[in-house]
């Protein structure tokens, strides 16, 4: 499956935040669980707004959640 250049630590952050489920994160971020699933698998690049909303859920800066790979 195609992987894009934007990587993330969503799965790790979920576990660090009280074992948050994908559904919980999806609800808080205002997207479907399948979108969170695709994000964690790096098969989907979020919009800037969604990226900020996810970072806000975890209360961390954007760069701690998403990283751009130049390779």
């Amino acid at each position: 499956m195609a992987k894009n250049r934007i990587e993330n630590k969503i799965r790790q952050l979920r576990f660090e935040n009280g074992q948050m489920t994908q559904s919980e994160l999806a609800r808080k971020a205002g997207v479907t669980r399948q979108t969170i699933l695709s994000l964690e698998a790096c098969r989907y690049s979020p919009s800037l707004e969604l990226a900020f909303r996810i970072a806000q859920v975890f209360q961390v800066p954007l760069e701690e959640v998403f990283q751009y790979s130049s390779n």
Binding site: V31, T32, Q34, L37
Partner: protein, 155 residues
């Protein structure tokens, strides 16, 4: 396999479109080929297609997609937009080909037994053209739905 309700709905629409178009084109061809079809036969066929669509929809949705889909998020909108775009491109190409076929359809000369030329006709009459347009519409709908399913599966 993790499938959202929205994706299930698209699978169902894809199945219904494929089933109904297969039924319609097979039945219309069996009636009198695609060169001509009477209003009565067309009426019966349209009625059957409507009934088939409704019954198939009820059964498939009742069996596989009872839940209300969640509100569309940005990924759903992006996939829908890609599907619409590719469906539109395929419809444009098919219609362009059809226009070309109509313009280039050869005139068939009608000659009496005496050898006198009676007139000229085309092997692409209105019934055939209508069916070709319907085929183009069905193919583009299937293409749109298949594109959406591809992107949902790919992630």
């Amino acid at each position: 396999m993790d499938i959202s309700t929205r994706e299930k709905n698209i699978w169902i629409e894809f199945t219904i479109t494929a089933a109904v178009s297969t039924y319609y084109f097979y039945s219309s061809y069996r009636l009198s080929g695609w060169t001509q079809i009477s209003s009565y036969e067309m009426g019966i066929l349209v009625r059957n297609v409507i009934i088939l669509s409704i019954v198939t929809s009820i059964i498939l949705y009742a069996l596989f997609a009872r839940e209300t889909p969640e509100q569309k998020d940005e990924r759903d909108l992006a996939i829908e937009s890609k599907g619409n775009a590719l469906g539109y491109y395929s419809l444009t190409i098919l219609c362009s080909l059809l226009i070309g076929a109509i313009m280039l359809s050869e005139g068939i000369l009608l000659i009496a037994e005496s050898g006198a030329l009676i007139g000229e006709t085309s092997n692409l009459n209105s019934a055939v053209a209508m069916h070709l347009i319907l085929i183009a519409l069905m193919i583009s709908a299937l293409f749109k739905q298949a594109t959406q399913l591809f992107f949902y599966r790919r992630g």
